[in-house]
């Protein structure tokens, strides 16, 4: 599903050029459960941004389901993020003004979906993540775990092909973190492709495939059963 060849991302920092990604090739198949591991500055976040269509590579190619994402213009990238990708962030990134339901609706709004249809789907998704009774709550009235569940429901809104999670348990206590990871497993079991970015080996161990980044390169790519 994802074909990445010789990907480079170079930033200009004053006089210095910094290679966040220095030639990365990676293939991810549909239905995989992948963890991208690395210390901060290893290039894993840059990798995730490019995978999610938030950023463009300096060199190299990125094909998603055969489409050349590197050639997309801004609007095509926005559509790509809207329909193909679901983002889950460490800090949840819910809009505080909106209720849980409205937050989940947001990607569907940008997809131009009919209000009744999207409201019904948002309610179903909240049900799916176990927050059916909290639809009318604002983020500030919810615990971190609940907020992250809302964020996951939002990520699933337009039935994406790929769920990208950036340190999804980083802001949660360990028990809540486990619950969230369990939810990811369930989603993966239903066929959703997952890429989880983390610096925490314990979280990474939950994934069947672990790709380790260091200094903008992949230094290991292991497959194995969850421990």
């Amino acid at each position: 599903m994802i074909e990445i060849r010789d990907l480079e991302k170079i930033y200009q920092m004053g006089d210095e050029t910094v290679a966040a990604l220095a030639g990365v090739s990676l293939t991810i198949e549909r239905g995989e459960h992948t963890a991208i591991i690395g210390a901060s500055g290893s290039g894993k976040s840059t990798m995730m941004n490019i995978l999610g269509g938030l950023d463009r590579p300096t060199r190299g190619t990125y094909h998603f389901e055969g489409e050349d994402v590197g050639a997309f213009d801004d609007n095509a990238l926005a559509d790509f993020r809207n329909r193909r990708i679901g983002f889950v962030f460490q800090s949840f990134q819910l809009l505080p003004r909106l209720t849980a339901l409205q937050n989940v609706e947001l990607p569907m709004v940008y997809a131009g979906m009919d209000p009744e249809e999207r409201r019904a789907r948002a309610a179903t998704l909240l049900e799916r993540v176990g927050l059916g009774s909290r639809a009318g709550h604002k983020p500030t009235q919810m615990s971190g775990g609940q907020q992250q569940r809302v964020a996951i429901a939002r990520a699933l809104a337009n039935s994406p092909d790929l769920l990208l999670a950036d340190e999804p348990t980083g802001a949660l206590d360990s028990q809540t973190g486990k619950d969230i990871l369990a939810l990811f497993h369930d989603l993966n079991a239903e066929g959703l492709t997952l890429v989880l970015v983390t610096h925490d080996p314990k979280v990474a161990d939950q994934s069947r495939r672990r790709v380790t980044f260091e200094d903008g390169r992949i230094i290991s790519d292991e497959r194995g059963a969850r421990s």
Binding site: L98, V109, G112
Partner: protein, 413 residues
């Protein structure tokens, strides 16, 4: 995305900060209200000038004895009316020799105490000819005007205005046939003039007494006006287009009759009401534009206020913008959302400003006894301008929002 959802987003952001939104709009409210009020003051002044001069009679030339010093005759007739150069014969000559004069009305006037049925009233009595009604656009309410025969015979009859009728005989009385002593001389009331109300200069135009020229000159005015002299001759033209020609004909005729040599100064002055009105209106218009321009500046200041707050909002909501982009908002979706917010703040301010401005104009009209004159164009224009202000001053903040890098934006605390 659907357009209605953009509106919902923009409205949601505005409602989320009610106080801030209200204060942001306030600048536009004040600006639009100021524009509406200022233009209405200007328009009111213009109407007042029109009615002030029009109240004297339309298409009217006022000929007075004595030279006017200003070229063309200023509105304030310096020195005019002081001489004794105009006579009834001059008026007669104008009436017979000048083409296009609808009415020629010589007049003398003097102050007098009116007494009737125990009441008294100090006023000015005018001695005129029947043509005076035509010249000054007056009409009778009851009774009749005296005719040429009565005037020539020096009959002691008068026609009075509404104010006099009320002051001397009480409300709803019919003074026709009653007697009024003008000074010591008894006159018979033969008619009452239809009310003209207050003039634009604040004078009561119904405080008026008209009597035959000879009778008033000899019985009321006395020695100040001798022989067949008159103090004013009113000449009415058939139409505004004829005013200039008529003025020239009157001047030429009088110079000839008064044997004024070429190059010598006139011993009379001719005021052309049409050109005076034009000059006054032009100056009022300039004044109005000036007021409107000052008010427009406050509208622009209101726009700057919107830009300021929108820039703050973009900074505050950087993460929101990043998130929206991450879940699929296109740059234009973000641009339009913020532009719509700015335009809504501005247009809502414009609508409120319009209401405030119109009520303010009405209140001022009431307090200042000023004609309410709200230009119909001020409604679409002020709304259009507030839309424009929102568009112009919302453009830069919206562009800043749309241009944000989603990665940077999401990382912002």
């Amino acid at each position: 995305m659907r357009r209605i959802d953009l509106v919902t987003f923009a409205a949601g952001a505005i409602i989320a900060h009610p106080t801030r939104s209200a204060l942001t709009s306030l600048g536009v409210v004040i600006g639009v209200a100021a524009v509406v009020m200022m233009t209405s003051i200007g328009l009111g002044a213009q109407q007042r000038v029109t009615s002030a001069i029009g109240g004297l009679g339309s298409n009217l030339l006022i000929v007075s004895p004595g030279a006017s010093r200003g070229p063309g005759g200023g509105f304030v007739s310096q020195g005019a009316g002081t001489g004794n150069s105009l006579t009834e014969d001059d008026a007669e000559a104008m009436a017979t020799q000048i083409e296009g004069a609808v009415a020629v009305a010589p007049s003398v006037r003097g102050g007098a105490q009116l007494t009737a049925e125990g009441a008294n009233w100090q006023t000015r009595v005018e001695g005129v000819t029947p043509d005076y009604l035509v010249a000054r656009d007056l009409t009778m309410e009851s009774g009749r005007m005296f005719d040429d025969t009565e005037a020539r015979q020096g009959r002691k009859v008068i026609v009075i205005g509404k104010t006099i009728a009320t002051e001397l005989f009480g409300e709803d009385s019919d003074p026709v046939g009653k007697r009024i002593r003008v000074g010591a001389v008894p006159f018979e009331v033969i008619g009452v003039l239809a009310s003209k109300g207050q003039s634009g200069f604040g004078q009561d135009q119904d405080d008026i007494v008209l009597g035959p020229l000879q009778a008033v000159r000899s019985r009321v005015v006395g020695r100040r006006v001798q022989g067949s002299n008159v103090q004013t001759i009113y000449v009415k033209a058939a139409s505004a287009d004829e005013m200039d020609r008529l003025q020239e004909d009157v001047t030429n005729l009088l110079r000839e009759r008064h044997r004024i040599r070429q190059g010598a100064e006139d011993d009379f002055s001719v005021q052309n009401m049409a050109s005076i009105m034009e000059a006054m209106q032009a100056s009022v218009k300039t004044f109005t534009s000036l007021l409107a321009a000052v008010a427009a500046v406050s509208l622009v200041v209101g726009g700057v206020g919107i830009m300021n707050i929108m820039l703050v909002a973009v900074t505050e909501r950087t993460r929101e913008i990043g998130l929206r982009m991450a879940v699929g908002a296109k740059r234009n979706d973000v641009l339009f959302q913020f532009a719509l917010e700015a335009i809504t703040l501005s247009v809502v301010g414009g609508i409120i400003g319009l209401v405030v401005g119109v009520s303010g104009a009405m209140l001022m009209a009431k307090l200042g006894d000023w004609p309410v004159a709200i230009a119909s164009w001020s409604i679409p224009v002020s709304l259009g301008f507030s839309l424009l202000v929102g568009l112009v001053f919302g453009a830069y903040p919206s562009w800043r929002a749309a241009r944000l890098d989603p990665i940077e934006a999401l990382r912002r605390e």
